[in-house]
Every structure is written in structure tokens, then in C-alpha cells.
């Protein structure tokens, strides 16, 4: 077999915030590093993040990383790993200053420091008054962050494989782990084996398993799919965040920063209904709380279009044109384009919309991927790392706080890069792959390129999205989820025989979409089985048949393995290094 082989010390898959921050950490190391991305780096989904990056730099009031940690643990509904959350909140300021030094054009306060705005679930002094902790570049923080990181990678001369698609991990022939990854140049259709001593997954989310999502089309769970097929464990896959404010009908995100700046939600009677659901935090309660309140309002007939695309509205007009134009210019643009509404004069129609995958590939604070050994004990997979949305380190637990995802990206992207460097210094041998290992890793590509006359992938994908939307949304019940799981199982069978018409090589987007759809289906299946398994309500996972949180049985991570859909549990880390752990309490906002 004449398969081109590239030898690298480290390969990073995905060039969003996490992947590019990891690449930067490795750039100065002298180790040969490749950054592989299925899109040109600045097209990655980090670009769509709006409101900001949360950390306790204390520019508008006295602040403390411990307060940020308290909020994050509470926000996670107590299944976030406290050692990870501590690391993120404590390292956060350093990482944000680094971004500023790199040139990120943060908005500024009058004294020249980085502007910070209030976001949901933020408090001073362990649950006290509302804090303003989210550092922002207007409402385009993700764009500013992603472009800054790309620019830094240009300066560092990172070796970028732009528009290359990662197909699957390649097993090591001695069964000791992974030898590298099978990749395809989208432009030419050529396959290649990237041999690597370390691999970092930074493949992002998979919101496209739902019909309505704020996520880009490229968010297809490619990392999740590769990990599942490699026989490794996934964690907390039932935990999906529904962002309260997606534009009704279109799905585009409207930042929580709108409410941070003083906007609020109203029902058809003009009532500021969040006052009833969260008397203290109101519209700045945690996202899961606000999304549920909105769903209940609409269920009670208080939405604006009960017979159409029902929605409530986000009122901003009282903020005045100046604030909207200076702090929320991107929102105004999106709202005018996708809702036909100028928020300076009229409220924006919004609905809870799938936004973020809290679960993913379990890792420790260094980003090292964790799986289970035959005795069901945690086992580190040498040389394999994950960071960002695809990882479950787990700083978000059952519900992520706004502004914590960009922080997660840079903190753990950097941590992974640094740890890979350390490990490359001490050991991490290059592993060999046999012909059979290589063939296994290209098998799904080969199948799509040869099979003919089957069912179209797009039909299966559409059915999957419909099932996920109706049976695994904001509210879930066992009965519907059981049906949903069965339906997904039939889709998995159908997918095995689905085909594409186009078998040409050059920039074959149908082929890429087919391989992406396989990953989406793996992610959907993991989500569905995990959601059915967790018989309680916690964070974003709300079951009508089990409406209470059940700490006795479920203060744990759930784990999922693809083969036979085996569920299990992992302990939540409650051993931070520098302070006492936060004990679970009733979660009130």
C-alpha cells in the first residue's frame, strides 16, 4: 500500500480556540507539530462566540477566583470536577492577560483596563450580589479571540493542514495505544497517515444532532465519533445546554450579554416573567433555569405564536441606541438579518436552542484522555489528549455558565499543549501501525467511496435531528426517550447501508458530510442512551418522570461505551488543591 506518511511529534485535530491555543503552546517547543483542520482556522465555530470570556480579573469590582469557582460548581449542579474548575478559575486571569498581550481587541473601561460585563450565574462572595466577570470585545469576543490566536500561529509558523479531515485514530500494532491518525486532504481527496507521538483532540461540539441549534454546520462531533469507535469512554453525554436566546426560526445565538447589559425576557402580556422563576437573579439566572422557565411559559400559552414558531421576546429597546450600537452591534446585525427586527425599537423573538455539549471525552486537568480498564478503573490513555468542547474535563458538569467556554478553551488548550511538551521531553515513544491497523482506520472512507445505490445520508441525518429535537430536548421523559433510542438504533442500521452519489476525489463535500453524519449519529446515540439512563433531573438534564435531583444515586458522571451501549459511572472529583470542596446544596437563583 502506497499511503503517504507524515511524521510529527504532535498532531492537533481542530483549529478552534482550544486547538490553536494548544498549537501555540507547542510552537516554541521545537517539537514538530501539525494543526489539522477541516476548515480554514478562522472558520472554526469559536468565531461565533459573542458575549465574552469569564474570569476574575476584578476590573469593575473586587473579585476572587474562588467566587468564580463557587459559581461554576453551583452552575454545574455539583457534577463538575472541582480540581478542574479550580485550575480553570485560578489560571484564568493569566490566560486572559496572555490573550490581551497577543493583541485581542478587548473593549475597555475608562481606566484602560479590560471591560467586564455581568453574565448569568455570577455572584460576588459565594452567592452574594450579581458580579460582572465576563471580559468582552463588544459582542464579538469569539471572533476576536479566534483571529488573534490564528494570527499568533502565523507568527509562530505553526504547520497548518487547512481543509484536511481526520477520519479515524490508527491503533498501534502492539495494542499499546494509538500510532496516529488517518487524514484526508479535502482538496485532493488523498488519504495520508499522520504518525504522531501525541494527539490532541480539539474537535469542538456536535450541536448538529439537533434540528434547531446555534452551532455551525461543521459541529458534527468528529472527535466524539473517533473516540467511540476506538473503544474509549465518553462521559456525561446526556448534558446538553439549551441556550435561552436563539432567534426563533433561525437558531442564531443572541448573547446572554444582552441580559447582562440590562435586557430582559417578556411573555405575550409584556410580563418580565423571570421575576417569578428566579426572584433574585431574574434574567441572569443560570441558562438551564432560564431555558426551562421559557419553555414553561410557552407551554402555559404565554408565548407570542402558540400555533406557529412559538417564542418569547428579548427586550432591549430600553437600553438606548448608544449601548446597543457600542456593546451589542453584532446582535443588532443578526437580529435585523434573521428576525427582521431592530432591537433599538423592537424586542427580538427568541426560543431555547441547542447550544453546547457539556459532556464529551473525559480528561484530567492536563487534558490527558481517560478511559476505563477491565476492572472499571480510570486509566490514562498515553499520548492522547482532548481540550475544549469535545473534552469533558469536566468544568461544566450538568450546566455550563456563560463565558466559561472561551475560558475552558484557552486554559485547557494551553494546559494540553504544555503537558504534551513535558511528556515528549520524558518519553512518549513513536508507535508503529500495521497494514491492518491502517486499513481499519480508512475503512469508512473506503466504504463511502465504493458503495452505490443505497439510501441518502441526508434523509437519515434529518430523521436523527427530528428525533433528538422531539425526544431529548429541554424536557425529557422516559417513555419518549425509550422510543427515541429504538428509532436511533434503526437509523444506525440504515446508516451502514446509506450511500452517496458522488465518488469523485476533488473537494468532495458529500463524502465529508457523510463521514460527519456518522459521527453525529454516534453522538446522538450516546446522548440518547445516557439521557435515558440518568433517572433524575440535574442541570440541563430535566426529566418530567424524575423531576428531583438525586444526590444519593447520581452525584456522579455517567459513562458510555459504544459497544453494546454500556453505561457506567465515574466519581466526581471533589478534591480541589487549594481550598475546601464546595458541598452540594439546593440550587436557587
Amino acid at each position: 500500500m502506497s499511503l503517504p506518511t507524515y511524521e510529527f511529534d504532535a498532531v492537533i485535530i481542530g483549529a478552534g480556540g482550544a486547538g490553536m491555543r494548544a498549537a501555540l503552546a507547542l510552537a516554541q517547543s521545537g517539537y514538530k507539530t501539525a494543526l489539522v483542520s477541516k476548515v480554514f482556522p478562522t472558520r472554526s465555530h469559536t468565531v461565533s462566540a459573542q458575549g465574552g470570556i469569564t474570569c476574575a480579573v476584578g476590573n469593575t469590582h473586587e473579585d476572587d477566583w474562588r467566587w468564580h469557582m463557587y459559581d461554576t460548581v453551583k452552575g454545574s449542579d455539583y457534577i463538575g470536577d472541582q480540581a478542574s474548575i479550580e485550575y480553570m478559575c485560578k489560571t484564568g486571569p493569566e490566560c486572559v492577560y496572555e490573550l490581551e498581550h497577543m493583541g485581542l481587541p478587548f473593549s475597555r473601561l475608562d481606566n484602560g483596563k479590560i471591560y467586564q460585563r455581568p453574565f448569568g450565574g455570577q455572584s460576588k462572595n459565594f452567592g452574594g450580589e450579581q458580579a460582572a466577570r465576563t471580559c468582552a470585545a463588544a459582542d464579538r469576543t469569539g471572533h476576536a479571540l479566534l483571529h488573534t490566536l490564528y494570527q499568533q500561529n502565523l507568527q509562530a509558523k505553526t504547520h497548518v493542514f487547512s481543509e484536511w479531515y481526520a477520519i479515524d485514530l490508527v491503533k498501534a500494532s502492539d495494542d499499546s495505544g494509538f500510532a496516529g491518525v488517518m487524514v484526508m486532504s479535502i482538496e485532493t481527496g488523498e488519504l495520508a497517515f499522520m504518525s504522531a507521538r501525541a494527539i490532541i483532540f480539539a474537535t469542538g461540539g456536535a450541536g448538529r444532532i439537533f434540528q434547531s441549534t446555534t452551532n455551525a454546520h461543521i459541529n458534527t462531533g468528529d472527535g466524539v465519533g473517533m473516540i467511540a469507535r476506538a473503544g474509549l469512554v465518553l462521559q456525561d453525554m446526556e448534558m446538553w445546554q439549551f441556550h435561552p436566546t436563539g432567534i426563533a426560526g433561525a437558531g442564531c445565538l443572541v448573547t446572554e450579554g444582552c441580559r447582562g447589559e440590562g435586557g430582559y425576557l417578556i411573555n405575550k402580556d409584556g410580563e418580565r416573567f423571570m421575576e417569578r422563576y428566579a426572584p433574585h437573579a431574574k434574567d441572569l439566572a443560570s441558562r438551564d433555569v432560564v431555558a426551562r422557565a421559557m419553555a414553561l411559559e410557552m407551554r402555559a400559552g404565554n408565548g407570542f405564536a402558540p400555533n406557529g414558531i412559538d417564542h418569547v421576546k428579548l427586550k432591549l429597546d430600553h437600553l438606548g441606541a448608544d449601548i446597543i450600537k457600542s456593546r451589542l452591534p453584532g446582535i443588532r446585525e443578526l437580529s435585523m438579518t434573521f428576525a427582521g427586527v431592530d432591537p433599538i425599537y423592537e424586542p427580538i423573538p427568541v426560543v431555547p436552542t441547542c447550544h453546547y455539549m457539556m459532556g464529551g471525552i473525559p480528561t484530567n486537568v492536563h487534558g490527558q484522555v481517560i478511559t476505563k480498564d477491565t476492572n472499571n478503573q480510570d486509566k490514562i490513555v498515553d499520548g492522547l489528549y482532548a481540550a475544549g468542547e469535545c473534552a469533558c474535563v469536566s468544568v461544566h458538569g450538568a450546566n455550563r455558565l456563560g463565558g466559561n467556554s472561551l475560558l475552558d478553551l484557552v486554559v485547557f488548550g494551553r494546559a494540553s499543549g504544555l503537558h504534551v511538551q513535558e511528556q515528549l521531553n520524558s518519553y512518549l515513544p513513536r508507535k508503529n501501525a500495521s497494514e491492518a491497523d491502517l486499513e481499519a482506520a480508512m475503512s469508512r472512507h473506503q466504504r463511502w467511496m465504493t458503495d452505490k445505490n443505497g439510501e441518502h445520508v441526508s434523509d437519515i441525518r434529518a430523521e436523527m435531528q427530528k428525533i433528538m429535537q422531539s425526544d431529548f430536548g429541554v424536557f425529557r421523559t422516559g417513555e419518549f426517550m425509550e422510543e427515541g433510542v429504538e428509532k436511533l438504533k434503526t437509523l444506525v442500521e440504515r446508516m451502514k447501508h446509506a450511500t452517496i452519489d458522488d465518488h469523485s476525489k476533488v473537494f468532495n463535500t458529500s463524502l465529508v458530510e457523510a463521514m460527519e453524519a456518522e459521527n453525529l449519529l454516534v453522538t446522538a446515540m450516546a446522548t440518547a442512551v445516557s439521557a435515558l439512563h440518568r433517572t433524575e433531573s440535574r442541570g440541563a438534564h430535566s426529566r418530567e418522570d424524575f423531576p428531583k435531583r438525586d444526590d444519593e444515586n447520581w452525584l456522579v458522571h455517567s459513562t458510555y461505551q459504544q459497544e453494546n451501549h454500556v453505561m457506567g459511572t465515574r466519581e466526581v472529583n471533589r478534591a480541589p488543591k487549594f481550598i475546601e470542596p464546595f458541598e452540594p446544596k439546593e440550587r436557587v437563583y
Binding site: 476548515v39 480554514f40 478562522t42 472558520r43 472554526s44 465555530h45 468565531v47 461565533s48 480579573v57 492577560y97 490581551e100 498581550h101 497577543m102 493583541g103 481587541p105 478587548f106 473593549s107 475597555r108 473601561l109 475608562d110 481606566n111 484602560g112 483596563k113 470585545a137 463588544a138 464579538r140 471572533h143 476576536a144 483571529h147 494570527q151 499568533q152 502565523l154 507568527q155 482538496e187 455551525a216 454546520h217 461543521i218 426560526g249 433561525a250 442564531c252 445565538l253 406557529g308 414558531i309 453584532g330 446585525e333 443578526l334 438579518t337 434573521f338 441518502h456 441526508s458 452517496i500 452519489d501 458522488d502 469523485s504 476525489k505 476533488v506 473537494f507 468532495n508 463535500t509 458529500s510
Partner: protein, 239 residues
């Protein structure tokens, strides 16, 4: 929402180097929802569902990632924020002009990215970074508005005749907008070096001020104004 549909006529540029001798325009009559507007990108999905050999780039679908720049009824724009209702039939869609076509609506943007890289699009400051942030007044920060928002979609450079003629030598509107973004940043102290690298007759001075770039920018940015400011700085340097 009802299932009412109407037929819309598209003419789409097609070329697959694996199978086609030459590019051609292909007609599609596609059913689109009749009771609501959709974006051109949504219509392209519908076309792809019928004809899976059709290729184009897309990612965020909300006008911030810059993937789906294309030529729509003769004008460059992003498919994802172009409402179908704003377009006359037949809707003619071609790849961005001036770039080599890889396949269908997918163009080779290497030359465009190279020009961007040429202006050293990263903050340069010779002083060691402080322990906290570098300070910048709101007024100084305001100078970056209208510059940093560029999404590198290439709608501007691909509508610029000067860029068509001299893609290797003229930086083009997108690259120059970013050149000015760093010149304007109070935290960057490499102004002289940056200007020195732009002084040749092509990099900046090939701009003829016809403002096609301003006309098509989907983010409402104004590269011509930025180029004017670079020219003034170059002139000041020369005096």
C-alpha cells in the same frame, strides 16, 4: 408554518475537474417555502439534497465565519445572510471572481491568504508585557472598530480589479484593512517597520479608489478609508 412551496429558478456554476472538461452553468428549479423567506445558503442545501455532487463551503451560517463568499447575481456576498427575497430570478451563482476554481463554488484562496500574511497580522510590541493587561483608553480602542471585525471572506479583494491584475503584488483591500488595524492599535509599536514594508508602488498604491470593496463588504467595513489612512501615513513618513 405550512408546507406551501414555490419554484425558484437558479443557474449555478458547476465544474468538477475529475469529470468535467470545462465549467458550465446548470439550471435548477427548486421548491422553496412560500410562506417565509430563506437565505440563499438554505436554498443551496436544497439543491445539494437533489444533486449531491454540488460543492460549496459553509460553516457558521450567520455571517461571521466568512466561508460562503460567492458571486450572487453579479455581486459578491455571503450566501448565509442573503435573503432569497432580495434576489431576482433566475438567481445566478458563481464562485468568487479572480480566484482559481477548485470545484463548483469552491475557490483556491491561497493568494488571498498570502497577502494577508504579508502584512504581519499580529500585534508587535518590543516592550516586555506587563503582569496584567496593557492599558488602552476607550478612545484608542475605538480606532479599531470597523477594522478588527473582518471575517476574511474575500468578497472585497475578489471584487477589486487591481487585485485581479496584481494578486501577487497588491495586498488587496482585506489585507490592507488588517494592515491598518495594527497601525491603528495603540499597543503596537512597529509602525515604522510596517510602513516601510508597504512603500513599494504596488502593495498599497495599486488601489485606484473605486470602492468596490466597500460596496460588497458583508460586514459593512470600509477598506478604502483604511487604505486612504495608510497612504496618509506613508506620505507623512516620506516628508
Amino acid at each position: 408554518m405550512s408546507d406551501l412551496t414555490k419554484k425558484v429558478h437558479f443557474k449555478i456554476y458547476r465544474y468538477n475537474p475529475d469529470v468535467d472538461q470545462a465549467p458550465y452553468m446548470k439550471d435548477y428549479h427548486i421548491d422553496v417555502p412560500a410562506d417565509r423567506d430563506i437565505m440563499l445558503l438554505n436554498a443551496l442545501f436544497l439543491i445539494k439534497n437533489e444533486d449531491d455532487g454540488f460543492g460549496y463551503r459553509r460553516s457558521c451560517a450567520e455571517g461571521v465565519c466568512g466561508s460562503d463568499g460567492m458571486n450572487i447575481n453579479g455581486r459578491n456576498g455571503l450566501a448565509c445572510i442573503t435573503p432569497l427575497s432580495s434576489l431576482k430570478e433566475p438567481i445566478v451563482v458563481r464562485p468568487l471572481p479572480g480566484f482559481p476554481v477548485i470545484r463548483d463554488l469552491v475557490v483556491d484562496m491561497d493568494q488571498f491568504y498570502k497577502q494577508y500574511e504579508k502584512i504581519k497580522p499580529y500585534l508587535q510590541n518590543s516592550n516586555p508585557a506587563p503582569a496584567q493587561e496593557r492599558l488602552q483608553s476607550p478612545k484608542a480602542r475605538l480606532k479599531l472598530d470597523g477594522l478588527y471585525e473582518c471575517i476574511l471572506c474575500a468578497c472585497c479583494s475578489s471584487s477589486c480589479p487591481s487585485f485581479w491584475w496584481n494578486p501577487e503584488k497588491f495586498i488587496g483591500p482585506a489585507g490592507l484593512l488588517q494592515a491598518y488595524r495594527f497601525l491603528a492599535d495603540s499597543r503596537d509599536d512597529h509602525t515604522e517597520e510596517r510602513l516601510a514594508e508597504l512603500q513599494d508602488p504596488f502593495s498599497v498604491f495599486r488601489c485606484r479608489g473605486i470602492m468596490n470593496c466597500v460596496d460588497v463588504c458583508p460586514k459593512g467595513l470600509n477598506p478604502t478609508r483604511a487604505i486612504g489612512k495608510i497612504r496618509s501615513l506613508l506620505l507623512q513618513e516620506a516628508l
